[in-house]
């Protein structure tokens, strides 16, 4: 019974996060444009530069933050479990390290505003002029 309740709670959370939009953000001085396939490349460790050739440093929100779940499922098209399996393969074979994580939107904005190579994402409602939005999903 409590299991069913937990499942319902999870479903509510999931449906909630699907409604809210997320914004892909970069440093205000960064004029790069990105599409979904480039985001996949950067956030799956398959590339480390923007389309203009300049270096890109992808940043993740911590697990459990709704925007992270949204980014994983809507932009990377993978479940959190699939992504964790993917990264554990790379980490333990010396082929890559996952993006650094930030605990919340404020920390993410501060990190992106401080690093011209950074690319991250936040809930669209957290956007302000300290960062530049390059796409929304």
């Amino acid at each position: 019974m409590s299991y069913v309740k937990a499942m319902l709670a999870v479903l509510l959370l999931l449906s909630g996060s699907v409604v809210a939009e997320i914004a892909i953000i970069v440093h205000p001085a960064n004029n790069a444009s990105v599409d979904q396939s480039e985001l996949n490349r950067l956030f799956l460790g398959r590339g480390n530069s923007f389309s203009d050739g300049s270096r890109a440093t992808p940043l993740n929100l911590a697990e459990g933050v709704p925007a992270r779940e949204h980014f994983d499922t809507q932009v990377l098209n993978r479940s959190s479990a699939q992504l964790k399996a993917y990264w554990s393969r790379l980490v333990f074979t010396g082929k890559g390290t996952p993006p650094a994580e930030h605990p919340n939107a404020a920390a993410m904005k501060a990190a992106v505003a401080a690093d011209p190579s950074a690319i991250g994402y936040i809930s669209a409602s957290d956007v302000d002029d300290s960062i530049r939005v390059v796409a929304t999903f």
């Binding site: 398959r46 590339g47 554990s88 333990f92």
Partner: protein, 361 residues
């Protein structure tokens, strides 16, 4: 007093880090239990009903429940020394080795540029698709990569590895070339399972390469490796060199292709490999399919080993359940058919059940 001071001072000096390094610690664990439900064993070898779940480590299930053959813990330490230089070590403790912890990976890594990374040290020999991450159960579907394919006695090497990553069109092209050797003073598979005398197994002049082609849901991997085999046997305390015909060494050539598709809820995995050992052909293949239903992935798998004398296959049916954000529960049924010619059987027919949890942290 003075001695204590000196000792303390030395201690302090030792504790001063020599360079500023961020050390990441990560790890994985698999706790798996299982038993043989029924099996023929091999009468000629006096072998009771047995399921050889891991060849190189001699992970063996018998009729009593055991947690040893597949259970393992791994800890990885990675020191990031900045400017593209890092040092990584991985310690693995395996139930099959009575949890005797050993450094299985220890290497330096240096990013030459955006596309190339040079590594030197001790690493896993990347023969098969799953060789590299064989120990990280969380990263793949089954309880273990199919035993019939992963049969070779040497699985690590010490040497140099250059890996690359390019993006061409919509394709992600990555891979590596490597060279090195492995000198296993007492090889477990040859000394304990396929024989009773200590065997020193040497694979030298190893040269190999891997190419991975990735595009969306498609993943193709090509692998090739060649080496020279040298072997010594200790009989009654006397070391004697093993010869093959008139030859003191033999050359092995390994080639393989793997095609994997992760399409929507479907997962289709395949692998085809051949080892040519001085003309003798050892062929292995595996096909596997899984279907994701939320956190559950039921799967079916068939793996086969075929050579002149040794022939066996395994049909597996199982379920992966991602019940936690860092852990998966798995249960698997394995049906092994040993069709080896008399005297060349491995462990006979067997039907086994195993289950357990894989996690990463």
């Amino acid at each position: 007093m003075k001695k204590t001071l000196i000792a303390t001072a030395t201690g302090l000096l030792l504790m001063q880090p020599l360079a500023h390094a961020n050390i990441d610690i990560s790890g994985y664990a698999s706790v798996i239990g299982g038993r043989v439900l029924s099996g023929s064993g091999v009468e000629g070898f006096d072998l009771p009903p047995t399921f050889l779940a891991n060849y190189p480590l001699v992970g063996v299930y018998e009729k009593d429940w055991t947690f040893k053959p597949d259970t393992r813990f791994g800890l990885q330490f990675r020191a990031n020394l900045m400017d593209g230089l890092s040092a990584t070590a991985q310690v693995v403790a395996r139930g099959a080795d009575d949890f005797d912890a050993r450094f299985e990976w220890a290497y330096l890594s240096y990013d030459l540029n955006e596309n190339w990374t040079l590594q030197a040290g001790k690493k896993r020999l990347p023969l098969y698709y799953y060789s590299d991450f064989f120990d990280v159960g969380y990263a793949y579907l089954w309880i273990r990569p199919p035993a019939d394919n992963y049969t070779w006695q040497i699985f690590n090497y010490t040497g140099i590895n250059a890996q690359f990553n390019y993006f061409v069109g919509d394709w992600d092209i990555s891979g590596n070339i490597y060279t090195g050797r492995e000198d296993d003073q007492e090889n477990k598979l040859l000394s304990q399972f396929f024989g009773s005398n200590p065997i020193r197994e040497i694979w030298k002049d190893i040269i190999g390469g891997v190419i991975n082609l990735n595009k969306d849901w498609l993943d193709i991997r090509l692998t090739y490796m060649t080496y020279i085999n040298e072997r010594y046997r200790t009989v009654g305390g006397v070391v004697e060199r093993v010869t093959w015909g008139d030859s003191l060494t033999r050359r092995g050539k390994f080639a393989g292709i793997s095609v994997n598709m992760d399409f929507g809820d479907w997962l289709l995995l395949s692998e085809l490999n051949r080892l040519d050992l001085d003309g003798g052909k050892f062929d292995t293949y595996m096909v596997s399919a899984g279907y994701r239903i939320n956190a559950f992935t039921p799967y079916l798998s068939y793996a086969d080993f075929d050579s002149e004398n040794e022939k066996h296959s395994t049909t597996s049916l199982g379920l992966r359940w991602d019940f936690h954000s860092n852990a998966a529960f798995k249960i698997q049924y394995d049906d092994v058919k040993d069709k080896g010619v008399p005297g060349w059987e491995v462990a006979g027919d067997s039907k086994s059940i195993s289950f357990g949890v894989d996690l990463v942290f």
